[in-house]
Structures are given as C-alpha cells and as structure tokens.
Symmetry: C3
Subunit: 487 residues, 3 copies
C-alpha cells in the first residue's frame, strides 16, 4: 500500500488552507483578559470564535512587519490609540473613539462601545474604510429610502394591510427592517439605557433601536456608515468567509440581484463547489492558479490578485463598483456606473431620481464617462485574461453589450405598456408601485432584466432563460398587453 511518509507529504502539499493560518502567538492585554473572564461564561461562543481569529494571534507590530503585498493592515506605523504589542481583543476594538459613540456606556469599570464601526476599524484599516466610504454600499440606506421614488416602492411592497371595504395599507418600519434594510442597513440609534438580565446578574446597557442589523450601509451611533461585519463575520473576521461566495450570497440573491444564484450554476461556481477544499482562501496576496483555480465573487470584484511570479493582476479595493463599468441593476435601464456612491442625488431629464428616464435617456452628468468605463473594462478584462484568451473575454463582453440593448428594448416596451395602462385608466399611478399590474411591470426591470443581464456575463444560462429570464420577461410583456387590450 501507500507509504506513510509519501502520504503525509501529499497531505501537506494538498492542504494549503490548513497551514496558511500558522501564526505567531500574541499576548492578550490585561483589559481584554478582564473582558474574557466574564464573557467566556456569558457569551462563550463569541470568545471562542475570536480565539480562532487572526486578531487573537497577531499584534500590530507583527502585522506591520509583513512586506507590502502581504500586509493585512493599511497603516504604516503604529496607531496612537491601540497598543502595538498585544493581540487585537475585545478591549482594543470596543473602546475606540468613545467620544463619538452614542452607544458608549460604563460597563463595570470600562467605557465600552456596543458597536464597533468602520470608523473604529479604520484605526488599522484606513485605506479599506476610505475606499468603502465612496461605494454605493456605504450609502445603501439613502440610495433606497432617501430616494423618494424607491421609498414609495419600499412602502408599497412592505405595507401592512387591513381590509375594510377595500385594502388599507400602512407603512411599517418593522417590515422594512426585516426586508430591505436587513441588507441595506438600518439607522441604529440609542434610546437611553435598558436593564437586561444576564447570567452575571442584571446590568444596564444602551437601548439600541433598529437593532440588530449588519447591513452594508448601516448608520452607526458614531455617525459612520456601514458594517464591516456584513462581510467579515464577527468575531473571527475570517478572510476565508469574506472570500467565499456565501458571504455575498447573504444579499445578492434572486429574484432582484441573483449574483450568487447565477454563480453557483456557472462553470466558475461548479469548480469552486467541487474543489474549494484544495484552495487557500487565507493567502494574501491571492495567487491565481496557485491558491485557487476558479474565481469567487471576491476574486473579480475586490481582492488583491497576483500571478505566481507575484505580479499584481488587480489591486485590492473595498469600493465594490470600482471594477464595473455599467450598472446592470436596472432602474429600469442599464446605465454607466454612477460617479458617486450616493446615488440619491441623481436627477434625470424628467426630474426623476433615476439614472435614466422612462424613455432611457441617461443622466450623464451623474455617470462615469466612456474613458473611465473603458479603463474599468480593461481592469476586469485583465482578471478574466488570467484564465481566458483575449478573444473569449472580448466576445463575452460583447455578448453582454448586446444583451443590455435587447433587455432594455423589452423594458422600454413594458414601460410604454404600463404608461398606456395608466393612460387608459386601467391602473392608478398616484402610487405607481402598489397594484398587481404595476407589480407585473416592476418585475420586468427589478427581477427579470437584472437576472438576464447578470446571467449573460456570468454564463449561468438558467437565469437568462427560464428562471426569471427571457421566458418570464416575454410572458409578462404579453400579460401586460392582454391586460391593456382586454379591459
């Protein structure tokens, strides 16, 4: 049979993920030790999860000693507010910038923030936080609820109903919190203190509203935007989790934004699902071919990617739109990406807060210009080219271009049908988003159009065809035509 040593060598060779996590030991500060003493009892899962983290095993000094490409922090010298020679523990993170934190409270002898915010993480990761602060994600609340049109859409879709000789609908903050805002983020506020029962006796803690929430655009009690924990799951903050597609799959789901669903059904997703155990999801930089042989969302959209010689193929970014030239998510049409992550400021030629008019005239002053579009296309193309021929990549992009045109044509036809239905008095556009036939129209651009376009570029044909795809968009168009003609 096989020799033991040979097998061991093979084992070690084939299991890079198991060894990539080897870290130095780091001393735990006496303050964090005090936290752990109680929390090991009251919240043992948090403590144990943190113990598996890189934070628990690394000092800032050690983190700074890495070469530039391997560094996992983006400061170049030790920060003033955290000790450089201890592990990054409870105390180190939960006490930062206390003066800005409305959620700061006296917890036994220490002043502690309940929520660690991007502003706090910026102590060691300032570049990532800065990049993120310009992204659409950071503005995810205002981009939705701060947009007067989308606000109506949200309220119509989540309105609590009663029936009294007709349907009466009322706005519900709670319904919004468990739906749209669970991903987009809530505005977390502090409403005094509240007494809670714990295993250590009753204690007073800040009474948080619109909480819990880990949405990408969360408004925090220190005024900052976002939640790093949306992707970097507490308290291991494991880069392995952030890089695997399941993280994106918390929100990027069918029917509106089916990126994760399409990925799973694509060749990329197939290879990932089949071979992920042999990939190294913790390596920084992330070496294409060596650490993985199929991309995940993070590979193409934000990670630092190098080839086996260490040449950079793509730099890290936490502004997740930076490698994208068009915005496929249709409102109702595809346009160039917005210049600014805060899209609630956009006003189109018809005065609507949308990047295109219903006639598909783009609000160009708010959108990136062709030169920037080309640069980003080139950047993304470089990543594709690491595994695909230029012809393959160019044709794929060309296929997308044509798909955008074709889908937008159907969306225009559907919008014209909707206008005709309103005109004929068959629906009431006082609220354009509540009635059943209006929902049929909305599904065209909010579900099916997005699905087809994403499926085109990601090569997941089911979502272009029968699952919220061409089948559905053409069926719905016929149903709208029937509605108009019949009544």
């Amino acid at each position: 049979m096989r020799s033991l040593i040979h097998s061991l060598i093979v084992l070690i060779f084939l299991t890079p993920t198991l060894t990539a996590g080897v870290l130095e030991e780091a001393p735990i500060s006496k303050e964090t030790k005090a936290c752990i003493m109680c929390h090991q009892k009251v919240t043992p899962g948090i403590v144990a999860d943190w113990e598996t983290s890189r934070h628990a095993k690394t000092t800032i000094q050690q983190a700074l000693s890495q070469d530039e490409l391997s560094k996992r922090i983006s400061i170049s010298q030790t920060p003033a507010t955290v000790s450089a020679d201890v592990a990054i523990g409870c105390y180190e993170c939960h006490t930062l910038n206390a003066e800005n934190h409305a959620d700061n409270f006296k917890h036994y002898s220490k002043n502690v923030n309940v929520i660690v915010t991007p502003k706090d993480c910026a102590t060691c990761h300032p570049v990532e936080v800065e990049e993120y602060s310009h992204s659409k994600k950071a503005y995810a609340i205002d981009n939705l609820i701060g947009n007067p049109l989308f606000k109506i859409l949200v309220e119509a879709s989540t309105g609590v109903m009663e029936y009294q000789n007709g349907l009466i609908q009322r706005v519900s903050k709670n319904a919004q919190n468990i739906t749209c805002l669970k991903c987009h983020g809530t505005e977390v506020t502090v409403d005094g203190m509240i007494e809670v029962e714990t295993d250590m006796g009753n204690i007073e803690v800040p009474n948080l509203r619109n909480w819990p929430n880990q949405g990408v655009g969360r408004k925090n009690p220190d005024g900052s935007l976002g939640s790093c924990a949306a992707c970097h799951a507490r308290h291991s903050f494991d880069i392995e989790i952030a890089r695997k597609p399941y993280t994106c799959g918390q929100c990027h789901l069918e029917p509106d934004v089916p990126g994760f669903n399409i990925y799973k059904e694509s060749k990329h997703g197939n290879i990932f699902s089949s071979k992920f155990m042999k990939f190294d999801f913790a390596a920084v930089p992330w070496t294409i071919g060596e650490d993985f042989t199929a991309p995940t969302c993070a590979t193409c959209h934000n990670s630092l990617i190098v080839n086996s010689k260490g040449d950079v193929i793509a730099n890290r970014t936490h502004d997740f739109g930076q490698r994208l030239w068009v915005r496929l998510f249709g409102l109702p049409y595809t346009t160039p990406q917005p210049i600014d992550g805060n899209t609630s400021k956009i006003i189109n030629a018809d005065g609507q807060p949308l990047p295109a008019t219903f006639a598909n005239v783009h609000a160009n002053e708010y959108l990136i210009d062709p030169k920037i579009m080309d640069e980003r296309k080139q950047l993304m193309g470089n990543i594709c080219n690491a595994c695909h021929s230029t012809n393959w990549v160019n044709n794929s992009f060309h296929e997308l271009d044509r798909t955008i045109e074709e889908v937008d044509s159907v969306l225009l036809a559907s919008t014209q049908l909707m206008a005709a239905i309103w005109e004929a008095g068959l629906a009431d556009n006082t609220n354009p988003f509540d009635e059943a036939i209006e929902r049929t129209w909305i599904e065209q651009w909010l579900f099916f159009g997005n699905s087809i376009k994403l499926a085109s570029i990601m090569a997941g044909p089911d979502y272009a065809a029968f699952k919220n795809g061409w089948w559905d968009i053409t069926k719905n168009a016929h149903a709208m035509k029937d509605f108009l003609n019949k009544k």
Copy 2:
C-alpha cells in the same frame, strides 16, 4: 518553508472531525456475520455504509461506559433482547419485537423484520423515542390527512385530472405518497408475500404497501409512529448527517416551510458553509465555540449543547417543538404551540379543526399557556445568548413578535377578501381549496406568511422580501382585490 512537524501539528489541531470518530473495535455477532455473508454480495452498499457506522464499532457495554453527558444511548443497563458485547449489526436490529411486526418473515433460517422502527430503536434509545412520540412529527400523518380540512386541501392539490366538458378531478393515493406523505409519512402495510428476483435466486418477502417511505410520521407495521431514518440516514446513522442542515433540508423547504432555504442565506448559514470542515459534528456533548462557531438547525432545536467548561446550555430533546413557543406555520395564523403533538384533535370556536378561527380567535385550550411560552423563549434565548448579547436577542424576538402581528393582519385581510369573493359568488366554497383564486388566498398563509415570519427570526431577508415575502403577499392581496372588484 514550513517544517513538517509544525504542519502536522496544525493539521491535527485543525481537523477535529477526523479524529473524533476513533472508536474501539467491537466483535460482530455470528448471526450478523451470516447476514453480511450474503448481503455483501446482494447489497454491498448497505454493508459498506454500516461498516462506517458507530454501531459497527461499539458494543452496548462500551456505550454504557461513557459518562452521562457523553452517552449516546439512554438506557442505564444492558437490555434483555440484545447482546451487550457485540457490535450493533443487522441481526441485532432487524429481529427485535418480532411478534409485533406484521413485516416479519422467515428469511433463510431467521425471522427478520424488513423495517426497523422507533419501537425497536427504543431498545437502546428509549428516552429519544419517548420524546419523539409526543412531537408533532410523530403525528405528521394524522395532523395532515386526519384533519378533515387539510385532507380536502391535499386532495385538491394532488388530484389527477381529466377534461370532459370541464375538469374532473380524482383522488390519488400515489400522488399523495410522492408529495405530502413522502415527508409526513405513509401508512406502511403488509399485503401478503411477494416473490422477488435477487442475485441469490428468487426469494419471498413481505409485500409492503405505501413503501418505500421514510417520512417523520410513518405508521409502521408494528403500530409505531415515525422513522428514525428520516434524519439518521441508514445504515451509517451518522450523527454528523443529522446535525448538518441538509437533513432538515429534505423537507423544510420553500415555499411552505422554507427553514433550510433561509438558513443557507443567513449569517449562520454563511459561516456554516464557509467553515464546516473545521467543525466537529460528531462530538457528544456538543461544545459551542469549540466544536463549532455557527449553529445548524440541530444546535438550536434539539442537540445537547454545552460550553467549554462542560456546563449544559441546552439539554437534548427529540420533541422538536420543545424549544418553540409560537407556531409560525400559519393555519392561517400564528398561535402558541399546541400542547399535544397530535393536532388533529384541535377544534376552534368556529368548529374548525384549526388552532385559530378565520377571525384569528385562538383555540386556547389546545395551546400552551403564556408561562410555558415564556419558559421556552428563555430556553431558546439561552442558546442565542451563548454567542449574542441579551439586547441583540431580545430585540430579535421583539422583531418577530411585531412581524407575527403584521403578517397576521395581512392574512386576516386576505381571508376577508376570500370570504367576500365567496359571498359574491365569484368562487364556490363547496371545496374551498381547488380554484385558482382560492389558491391565491392559500399561498398567502401557506407560503408567504410562513416565509416572512421564519425569515424574520432567522435573519434571511430575501425570504422576507422578494422571495415569497412581503412583495408577494402584498401583490397577491391586490390581485385578490382586483378579482373581487372586476367581476
């Protein structure tokens, strides 16, 4: 590079699942050896699967020698009917309680039961079987088909159709067996003997009806209820399988009971999918933080959970409703959990076999009281608290409370709309579950209401929003209103 020894230590440290299964050898009885001799040839997969099992490597004596928390059997002394010093093999299980087994037959020289039932498993696992026998799962057939209202629903939904100047529908046992009863369980009966061709020649075996089936409420030929194999897949009976979410995902699926789908999209599911290779799914007791850092269904709903000091956070239960205070599954509304697992006995104030009337008046005498509700909420909260702050948990529960109110309001409005439609003669409530518009109403409470409520407490926002969520429930309500007004 890395040193071999260092890597090996890391390997061992990080792969608890691989070493947790180390077991003593156990001698195989001569009777089981006889079974294996042929079955290794005729059904090699069964034998090989069993060989990987704990049953194949443990005697009752060894199992009894474990300390109380680590014990995997719930007897305290050796049973009279099984040898205590042999592995638990074919013969040991398939010959128990033969006198009660209508499926017992002479198989070569032995009297063998085709089906091993919970009553047989109770030989070594009596506490689990006793607990299970009180659960809604054990009564899953009668809770469905034994309920006259649901019987009509099942028959309408699975009726085989012909068209002769109108749709004619007939009841099909087969259609029920492959749909509802595949999960709920069939009544397995014995219809004499039948000759079957095998590799060892023709033999006579009991002719089972409504078989194969592994539904949770299966009625067995010995009069017992349930199938342990529903979750403990034969013949490895691996606790690893039962504890992973895929087992629950055989039945708890969208659109009616989307627990598994929501889990996958939640933060819990994300962490599980990303890191399950590093968890130990075989350890008993199951240590939070140490054996796993994200819960699966089993963690919260039934496993024996301890902290790293060995303190019990939650005791094991096989009555899967024991940690639940409300029944989110809407019929049509949410009520407290029923007192008795057999819910077919419930009669509400309107004489319907439902836990609430159509006006949402609860049948309180059949439902647990507020005190028991509080106790269960506390118990579940303790599990959540192992990883989350009290404020986080309380707010999550409060969010659920409000969601229940809000969803039930829409369900009441929908039910009132349906009543108005029946009243107006636009649908015929002789059979309230067959027509298309009635299905629209049913989807409100059987699909969308359940989905929203589960998604609220499990934090999987897609199923609260666009995927059978608020989007769908409000759209359907408008469609029902249109139906009523148009005609």
Copy 3:
C-alpha cells in the same frame, strides 16, 4: 489526549481523496514547454490549472499500463499522432487533426487549433467519444433548433420586443446564445482573423462566432459535435468535477429539468452534501460503499461502478440515455427513450416532430421497444440494488409508472383545454407558444410535469408538491379552465 501517530493513521485512513491523486512524474514535451513559457505570463490560470491535472503528470505509456478496469484511456496502443512518453500538454492537444480545423492558425511558429474538440480527444478516448456521438446530448442543437416546433418555442421565448401600437417581436441570435444554446451548444464558426491586444503585444487569432460556448451539442469548426469541457472542466479535466453533481447542475436545473435541484433535496443529496469530504471521487473503477456511500448523478447515469470485490455493477457509458428506459422530459408526454440521439427526425402520427401526438399516441417506430426498456430498467435497478432491497427498488419504479400515467392525464386535460381556448378564438395558434395563456399551458408540460416525474423517482418531494409540482399543475389547470369559461 490523542496520540500523534494514532491520529495520523486515522487521518490517512479517512482521506482517500488526498492520496488517490498520487501520480508518476511525466516529462513535458519541448513544444509544450514553449507554449508554457509565454502562457504562464499571459494566462497563468490556465497553466496552473493544467499543472494540477492528471494530463500534466501522465504519459500515454503510463496510462496504457493500467489494468483494464483502471484504465482511463480507451485505446490499446499508442496513437500515431501523439508522443507516448510525454505529459499531455498544450501542444499535444491543440495541434491534433489540424487539417480539419477551420480554427487552426499560425501562432508564432506552430499551427494551433483554438478549440480542442471531441474528435481530438478521441485520439486517446475513442470509446467515450463514440458513445457520446450517439447520445441526445451530441445532437442537442438540432434536437432543439432543428425541430421546427421547438424553434418557434425558442424564438417566442427569447424574442426581443418593441412596442408600437402592439408588441413587435424579433428573433435574436444573441438571446438564444445566452439562454438555450449556452447549454445545448452553439455552432462555432470562423470569420477570418482578428487582431487582439495581449500582454505579449498584438497578435492575430481566428475570429470565432457564437463563442465562447461549451454546450453539450456544440458544432465545432472541425465538424465534430459536442464539448468534452461541458463536464470535464478545462484545464484540470478533473474526474472529481465531472462526478460531482455541480457539473450536471450547470444545466439540469429547475424549472424545466430540475434534476440537480431535486437531487440536493433527496436523501442521496443529503448524504453527499454531508459526507463528500470522505468520498474518493477520483478512483477508477468507482467502488460502491468503499469510495462513496451515496450516489451522485454520475454513479447512476454513466460511471463504471464495481463492488468491493471488483465485480462490475455497471459499465461506463458516455451515452447518458443508455441506462434510461423512459424519457421523462415531456413533449408534452412521457414516452420510451428515442432509438437515435438525433430526435429531430421524429415525426408522430399527426405529422408533428414530437415523440407523441397531442392525444398521446406514441411514435413507436422512433422509440425503443419494450424489450430494450426492460433491459435498461434492469441495469439501473442493479445499481439501486447495490444499496436497496429489491422490493424497495421495484416499488419505486412502480411509483414512477403510476406518476407518469397520472401526470400525463393532467397534461392531456391541459392540452384539451388549450385546444378549446384556440377553438373559441380566445388565443391565436398561428404561433402556439407566444401568448400568456399559451405559456400557462407550456408550463404544465415543460416545467411542472417534468418536475413531478423526476421528483417521484428521485424522492425529492418538494418538487413533486409545492415547487413546480402537483400544486402548480392543478392550479394552472384551474386557471386555464377559468380563462376558457370567463371570456
């Protein structure tokens, strides 16, 4: 605690997949070395993926030296066109049969084919290619687009729309390429040469049309049919990928062909998902019980399966219909499997290019006869019997038989309803596939009927019940009846 050595032995024992890949070294030809020199820079991912492959580590000589059951190539002597003593690299595959390749071009000093086709793979794998060439998969384009009826269906479902006093629809090749043909395959043609920018400077390459594509029936520039890469993902060509269900899950998806979805929710899928890390997906032959304890798609449909004694349970086949007796995919009804993989030749008694008339009269001369049906049923049954009793298997098959009858009854009723709707002038059958009510009818047989039948035999009840199952088929039938009666 555990002893190091004990743990290591357990590790090795439990991780067959890690050691199964141990291969000899194979020298790389100087031509391939030349390819790699540049491509390591321009497409590092391809080179790195290939380096993980068996091709990179095996010579034909070594491959030939295996015993018959273990051989992974189907030639018995070294081919004339490839060196037998080098690894199978870029040059060895991309230069074969150059004279037939319209996509051959002068690439630096070599004549290289862009696409490696089944005809090229046949150099070493002739039996697999021959088998495949008779399968429905090989003819997947003509079976769809070459069938005049399905062509209309495809064009109606993917037609790009404009609205000008009515919906105008135009046929789009691009829309077909990203939907149906992404799985079925495109006809890849060469339209001269095109200059592309690369990291090594501008070069000229063949300008491929309807590319990229890896569909199962792709028409290649050398006249061959199919793409081995559809399942054997380039450039690792890992059998592990082909044998895992994710590969089939690229195309066999709900709502039309939900094999993968149903598998995931079945007991088989549950065990696979729970325990795949302990299975050996690379072993040839594939030993049931030893290499795996739950089947994947490949196990039942095409792999070479043996028992632990090495007895063959099922021979390998790359004609994926060879173990199937009925064709569950309904057009609209279930019939025996076609004799010929090219189904576009079938004409039924009503002159339609369908295996059954709308009244469900089978076109028997094109379909396998009862004797062949029985042989295939027996063959598939043998595989099932490796893990299940004869009674279990027979009853499952019987359940399927009844389900086929019942579903076909509903499909007949639905088709009669559609005919009545056309007759009444409520829809226009000039194009029988475009209008909304026609789509309702199509969903009956293209979605729900298929779903129920597959779910019946694969024991994934959700897809027989509420998810495109009996619930949906009966609801839609009522909706069609309402449509007929109302107007």
